[in-house]
């Protein structure tokens, strides 16, 4: 995708919300990307863009404007049986937008209306994460745990906190504790992924 479209004034930027560069390294090295592949241990991007889960994708135009806010897209169909989202569909729409053949959103849709804004509780949860992440880096893991838990209680929809802190807390982020959390959340009628309406199809 990058190679195909970079001559048309396009780039991909990937940002790994991981606890260390070493967690992200195998993924980045396997992809051997020519585009910037960044690591964000402090969840700076999640705070700036109100990101509550991964993957989250944004389309940004030449003027630096968000033309397609927080959406869900996968690079492969590995999780298609769970998510119902096809990688090819996002790639096709992206290609058409980059080539100027199609708009970023369907006619009548407004990026402003689709852009979800953070509330005070979301930002309090992010402050708890920030404190926990710093304490964790200092080796003060018990104290870090308190703030990770508190952040998750404040923003139960924010899986960058609830799941994203699991590797720091010695919890398997694919294991039984995650599956129990997910089961409870989805069982209450909440979405784990929140794609835009036209992505959901």
């Amino acid at each position: 995708m990058q190679e195909e479209l970079e001559d048309r004034g396009f780039t991909v930027i990937t940002v790994a919300l991981d606890k260390s560069p070493e967690d992200a390294r195998p993924w980045i090295e396997a992809a051997r990307p020519t585009h910037p592949s960044l690591v964000d241990t402090g969840h700076v991007l999640a705070d700036l863009y109100n990101i509550v889960n991964v993957p989250t994708v944004f389309w940004i135009d030449e003027a630096g404007r968000i033309v397609r806010p927080n959406d869900v897209a996968f690079g492969t169909d590995t999780f298609k049986h769970i998510t119902g989202l096809e990688a090819a569909r996002h790639l096709g729409a992206l290609r058409a937008w980059v080539r100027g053949e199609a708009p970023a959103l369907p006619t009548g849709a407004s990026a402003r209306e689709l852009q979800r804004l953070p509330g005070e509780t979301d930002q309090q949860a992010r402050a708890e994460f920030g404190l926990g992440e710093w304490l964790h880096r200092q080796g003060r893991t018990d104290a870090a745990e308190r703030h990770f838990v508190r952040g998750g209680e404040l923003a139960p929809h924010d899986f960058t906190i609830r799941r994203g802190t699991m590797p720091m807390r010695g919890i398997d982020p694919m294991g039984p504790q995650f599956r129990a959390m997910l089961g409870e959340w989805v069982g209450q009628g909440n979405p784990y992924y929140r794609p835009l309406p036209d992505t959901k199809g």
């Binding site: 780039t11 919300l17 991981d18 980045i28 991007l45 944004f58 630096g64 699991m166």
Partner: protein, 142 residues
């Protein structure tokens, strides 16, 4: 505060950047001298409110942000509309960015700039790509 110099150190993470200042902690309340507040966060405590340069933020009337023991950090955070996470036992607090500021930026649909490192430690900013269309992808190994 005449006794402020004897206060133990306290770390304030201002949007993640650590600053260490003397502070006294009792219960969950963190109090700083006016001088420590200015040193840590750049805000000066004045009768009309908190000031930084020409900008002054009024304090809610009747809010006892300052006492004989110093300025209440939580009161400062509330006046600035910023979230504060405190760990009194660890003598550390994180002062985040307020929902108002974040929501205004996102509602304007201007993609917030950021600077982050790649695996080689080289730093990249979104603004370096102005003039191009960008697919920004947040992902994780978890």
């Amino acid at each position: 505060m005449s006794h402020a110099a004897t206060d133990a150190t306290f770390t304030i993470l201002d949007e993640g950047k650590p600053v260490t200042v003397p502070a006294r902690v009792s219960g969950g309340t963190v109090r700083l001298s006016r001088k420590a507040l200015e040193q840590a966060l750049g805000w000066t405590f004045k009768p009309e409110g908190l000031c930084r340069g020409a900008l002054c933020v009024p304090l809610r009337s009747g809010a006892a942000v300052e006492s004989a023991d110093g300025v209440d950090l939580a009161g400062v955070a509330a006046a600035l509309g910023r979230p504060l996470a405190v760990d009194a036992a660890e003598r550390a607090a994180y002062l985040g960015v307020g929902a108002g500021e974040r929501a205004r930026a996102l509602a304007a649909l201007e993609a917030p700039d950021f600077t982050l490192p790649d695996l080689a430690g080289r730093r990249h900013s979104l603004r370096e790509h102005r003039g191009k269309k960008v697919l920004l992808v947040a992902y994780a190994s978890w």
